[in-house]
């Protein structure tokens, strides 16, 4: 046997105990289940579809949130719009794959 590490004082919690704990904390914190995680851009969550009409969406938020969005977008190399769309997808909205793409999609002029 190779395990000489200092063992934690308590016995390992059972799967059931851990699940109950996670449930309690998740409910308190309002966390989504894992399965609602949006699929990353590139994994093509939806089949290719015909070009849909675009609408403009401008939102005003507190500076703190704006800063967080900017920081996160920079660190993940995506646009803030993509982050917002990921969050919406996680809430169960149907989000087009185009709106989850990391880079701005080049205008497909003349196509179709």
């Amino acid at each position: 046997m190779s395990n000489k590490g200092l063992k934690p004082a308590i016995v390992r919690p059972s799967a059931r105990d851990s699940l109950a704990v996670a449930q309690a904390v998740a409910d308190e914190a309002g966390l989504p289940p894992a399965t609602l995680r949006p699929v990353r851009p590139g994994a093509a969550p939806r089949p290719e579809e015909g070009e849909e009409a675009l609408v403009q969406l401008n939102i005003r938020v507190r500076r703190g949130l704006g800063d967080q969005l900017a920081d996160r977008a920079r660190s993940e190399g995506v646009t803030q719009k993509v982050l917002v769309c990921q969050a919406l997808a996680a809430m169960g909205f149907e989000v087009s794959a185009e709106d989850l793409r990391p880079a701005a999609t080049p205008r497909r002029r003349g196509s179709r």
Binding site: S2, D17, V25
Partner: protein, 217 residues
Amino acid sequence: MAATVLTVASTKGGAGKTTMVMALAGTLAAEGLRVAVVDADPNRAYASWSEAAYEGAAVTVRAEADETRLATAIDELAPLVDLVLVDTAGFGNRAALLAIAAADAVLVPCTPSRADVEQAAKTLQLVEGAARAARRAIPARVVPSRLKQVTAVSRHALAELDAAGLPRTQAGLGDRVAFAEMTFSGRVPGGGEAGQEVAGLVAELRGLGWLPGPPSR
């Protein structure tokens, strides 16, 4: 004797969780420890890397993003190995919480950015919540990640962590090409400055009792 379960979590995406799991798992498996990684991220970043790129000592890998199956996977693996490392999604989902609730200790990687420091604090709060609900201590530390050793930003971030009273390890992983390359080459840095940083982190975590000791020969 059951394995130590060490969960790497941060509600912040891109903080360096998967990189830390890759480096720790590869390094400890190379020592001869029996290591399992449970990939709890639905994006399966670790699992696909281990299938497609990893070159090193054997690591048992399970990918389970559903919290019930994740709990079972950790339970099943713990008696079979020395260490179970759990990589989580940078999203603060229930699977991540389960991984925290099932952990002996939690590592919270944190890069030197304001958003990261804030999110690290949030992650530690989730760990505290889980510990309260579980009525046991779940020790957690922030681990500095992607530190640019000499920059004012890094010093500032460390100072912010300390000022916020967030417990952190002294050892951390620098922002190094060797870590970024690992994701392509599949080779975990064994030497050089990157390797030394991983060794330093391993030593500190052993000092905390959060990792099993090296195998006896």
